[in-house]
Structures are given as C-alpha cells and as structure tokens.
C-alpha cells in the first residue's frame, strides 16, 4: 500500500463513508421499511457529514456550491480528481 498523506487519508475515509451510504441507499430503495437498514443509514450519514465538514474546511469545496471565497472562486483552485494526488 502506498503511503498516504493526511489529505489522501481523509479522502479515503470520506470515500468509505459515502460508499456505505450508497450501498444502504440501494438496499433501502427495495426495503424502505427495514429498521436495521434505516438505523445503519442514519449512523453512516452522521459520520459522512462530519468527515465531509472536516475535509471541506481543510482542503476546499467538493461541490461548486460549497465554494465560499470572497476573493477567489474556490471551485477552480483545487485539482479535479482525475489528476493524481
């Protein structure tokens, strides 16, 4: 495994958390009243929101509407994900 820097480590955590939500989302689409599924989704949603908040505060917006700069449009400051790093 390559050595990850802090930004990459936090991105991995965010990707894992978002993937858990994506899986739960599909499961709940066909099992909309499953109590365990709903509980799982809520737990991971809270976790994802916390990680996303930390990531965007440290490294910038993940979506254009999260841009909040007063001097520069932050959306064009960060690399796009197909550029390595």
């Amino acid at each position: 495994m390559p050595v990850l820097n802090d930004k990459q480590k936090l991105m991995r955590k965010l990707q894992q958390s978002c993937f858990a939500l994506a899986e739960a989302n599909l499961y709940l689409d066909s099992h909309p009243t499953c109590k365990m599924g709903l509980e799982y989704f809520r737990r991971h949603k809270a976790e994802k929101e916390a990680i996303e908040k930390e990531y965007t505060e440290k490294y910038g917006p993940l979506t254009a509407v999260q841009s909040d700069g007063t001097k520069k449009w932050e959306w064009v400051a960060m690399p796009f994900p197909w550029e390595r790093g």
Binding site: C18, W75, P79, F80
Partner: protein, 199 residues
C-alpha cells in the same frame, strides 16, 4: 462523482398531451444536437482541458446538460400521458409506439437512434471548444425550430428557458476559448497542443 437531486432545473407542467409534438421534441433528447450528446461531449472532453477554469466549465456545463436531458424527458413524458390508440395513430406516434410504447428512448425526430457520432473529443482544447461553440448554436436553432412548431404556452415556456441556456453556454465557451488562447503563443496558437505536446 455525481449525485441526483429530485427536482427539475426549471418547472415543466404540460396540461395537454400532444404526441405529434413529442415526436419532434424528442430530437433534443437523442438527436444530433440534443442534450444527451451535449452532456457526453463536455463530460468526455474535460480531461483534455489544459486549465482548471476550463476543466470546471466543461464539468459544470456537462452536468447542467444532464439536467436539461431530464427536462426534455419530462416534457416528452407529459406530452404522451393518457393517450388513446386513436390519438396515437392520428398524431403519427404509431411508428414510435410500436417499438417503445410511451417509454423514453433517445432518438432523433427522424427516428435515427442516438449515436456517439454526434460529438467529438479531439484531445486538443482549441478544436474541442470550437466544436462546443458550434454545438450550442445548433441546439439554439433546434429550439428556435421547436418554438415555430407549437403555440402551447406550457411547452414554449420550458423550451424558451432551454434555448436561453444554449446562448449562455455559447458565451461561457467563448470565454473558455479565450482563456486557452491567452495561455498559448499569440503568434501561432497551433504551435503545439497544450494537452499533448511537452513544451
């Protein structure tokens, strides 16, 4: 990655079904200058964009085109609700109906199915952005032609919105092309391809 939002970019509320009109508006879904081709054009081209501004523009316009595809599909859906077999035959919708019932399938008004032949991704930002400018104008003309073909204000309103967006995108792509040429040798923009050649 992408996330879906359960809302249209601009409202679509059509009261009167009209299968004959659906048969021509479907070109803006799966036709040569339609929204599906537009979205795929920009979302594929963006990897060859030489700066963040143009990467962002192609990503964001390509994303908006997906929302326009959804608006066109909503128009088609509403124009083909609750049709009788008589209305289907009289509206000339029978040739579509036989293959797709009232499902949404991307074809041109002439019946030709959607094809990736409708766009290019050339790996050269000057070539790509010039194609994009032409594409926005061609889509604008298609919307002008649709507006000539219907008096229904419920249809004209969202079509006029989509037509306006073509004009805005044309403007933004013009600025993107200017950003790219400003990065290059002003005596010869074609001296090298900034997305391929090493300076």
């Amino acid at each position: 990655m992408w996330q879906y939002e359960k809302k249209l970019q601009y409202p679509v509320n059509i009261k009167e079904p009209n299968p004959a009109l659906a048969k021509v508006i479907i070109s803006q879904l799966g036709g040569p200058d339609g929204e599906l081709g537009a979205s795929l054009r920009y979302l594929n081209q963006r990897y060859a964009a030489p700066c963040r501004e143009v990467q962002a523009m192609l990503t964001d316009v390509g994303t908006e085109e997906l929302a326009h595809m959804e608006m066109i599909s909503a128009i088609l859906y509403q124009l083909t609700r609750g049709l009788s077999m008589k209305e289907i035959k009289e509206g000339g919708f029978d040739t579509y109906f036989v293959d797709h019932t009232t499902g949404i399938y991307p074809i041109a008004a002439s019946g030709v199915p959607f094809s990736a032949d409708y766009f290019q991704s050339k790996g050269d930002p000057i070539a790509d952005l010039n194609e994009d400018l032409a594409a926005e104008q061609k889509a604008r003309v298609t919307y002008d032609n649709i507006l000539r073909l219907t008096d229904d204000p419920d249809v004209r309103d969202p079509i006029k919105f989509l037509r306006e967006r073509e004009i805005v995108h044309y403007q933004r792509f013009g600025e993107s092309l200017r950003l790219v040429t400003d990065m290059l040798d002003s005596k010869n923009f074609y001296a090298f391809n900034p997305s391929f050649d090493k300076k």
